[in-house]
């Protein structure tokens, strides 16, 4: 199935069902908070999804405990995937919101090996430099917005 053709509601249900063990997946890892399995629309060999069992659509909505559990297991998964694929380089991507290419409305990290320039994640960068005054003001506002 093409990624663009996945209906988000259906896909969210599938993710929740996989997390509950009710739907099959190519499982790589599981603990109390996290399940990791192969992406069936892999953009590179070894492309793996790391998903919290807690249901949240975006990272902003996820509990600290689930986010910490996800973070904790990423290094181990990166090492295992690198060992098996023989590819030491990879990108971690986590998309939030349709405008940011999120197609499955349940938080997920992608671990995507980068075996060559044309395989895996391809980034089209466009850098905009800001001046010092703008940076000072923006950082101040973010510090002010940091609530537990």
């Amino acid at each position: 199935m093409q990624r663009e053709q996945v209906d988000p509601e259906y896909a969210a249900t599938i993710f929740a069902r996989i997390a509950r063990g009710e739907a099959p997946c190519y499982k790589v890892y599981e603990d109390a908070h996290v399940i990791a399995f192969l992406d069936t629309g892999a953009i590179a060999p070894g492309h793996t999804l790391v998903v919290p069992k807690e249901h949240a659509v975006t990272m902003s909505e996820l509990s600290d405990a689930s986010a910490a559990a996800l973070g904790r297991v990423l290094p181990r998964l990166c090492r295992a995937i690198a060992r098996v694929t023989g590819c030491p380089d990879c990108n971690i991507v986590q998309n939030n919101g349709r405008a940011a290419s999120q197609t499955v409305m349940h938080v997920h990290f992608h671990i995507i090996p980068k075996p060559s320039e044309t395989t895996g994640l391809q980034i089209t960068p466009s850098v905009r430099w800001f001046d010092d005054a703008e940076g000072v003001e923006l950082a101040r506002r973010m510090r002010g917005s940091l609530k537990p």
């Binding site: 093409q2 990624r3 190519y26 790589v28 890892y29 192969l38 629309g41 892999a42 953009i43 070894g46 492309h47 975006t58 902003s60 909505e61 996820l62 600290d64 405990a65 986010a67 910490a68 973070g71 904790r72 297991v73 290094p75 181990r76 990166c78 090492r79 995937i81 690198a82 098996v84 030491p88 380089d89 990879c90 990108n91 971690i92 986590q94 939030n96 919101g97 405008a99 940011a100 290419s101 999120q102 980068k114 060559s116 320039e117 994640l121 391809q122 980034i123 089209t124 960068p125 466009s126 430099w129 800001f130 940076g135 923006l138 950082a139 973010m142 510090r143 917005s145 940091l146 609530k147």
Partner: protein, 135 residues
């Protein structure tokens, strides 16, 4: 590991637009932002790639990501965003100290541009088993 600009920022020898700091983690604005609000989250532990990072540092970064995402989006006036973490020069890593990007995706299109070419998974069962065994 050779010292990077991020080590100097952690040591306070190079200034940054600091957003957040705790025992394990520092977050500050990217001075070459892909969009307004582009923030970097780094471990104080000096490691080049995520595969080399300790579980404790990785958990500390994970734990603070939801809070930072909420604050960055509130300040940037934005609701969509990408988190990106690159490992290795071929995967676009430029500073050889682990860092997570939080990149707002604004209505004007500014932010992370990605090309996503879905393929097929032919050997799923064998591959999953191999990775699980390597854990």
């Amino acid at each position: 590991m050779p010292e990077t600009i991020f080590d100097k920022i952690i040591a306070g020898e190079v200034p940054c637009h600091r957003v957040y700091e705790d025992e394990h983690v520092l977050a500050f604005l990217d001075i070459g932002p892909l969009s307004r609000g582009h923030t970097l989250v780094i471990p104080k532990e000096a490691r080049a790639t995520l595969g080399e990072l300790s579980d404790a540092s990785a958990a500390a970064i994970g734990r603070v990501l939801p809070r930072l995402c909420r604050a960055v989006m509130q300040a940037a006036g934005c609701s969509s965003y990408n988190i990106l973490q690159n490992n290795g020069a071929p995967a676009h890593q430029e500073v050889m100290h682990v860092h997570f990007h939080i990149i707002p995706k604004h209505d004007d299109g500014s932010g992370l541009g990605i090309i996503w070419k879905s393929g097929a998974l032919d050997d799923g069962a064998a591959l999953a088993e191999a990775i699980a065994s390597a854990l």
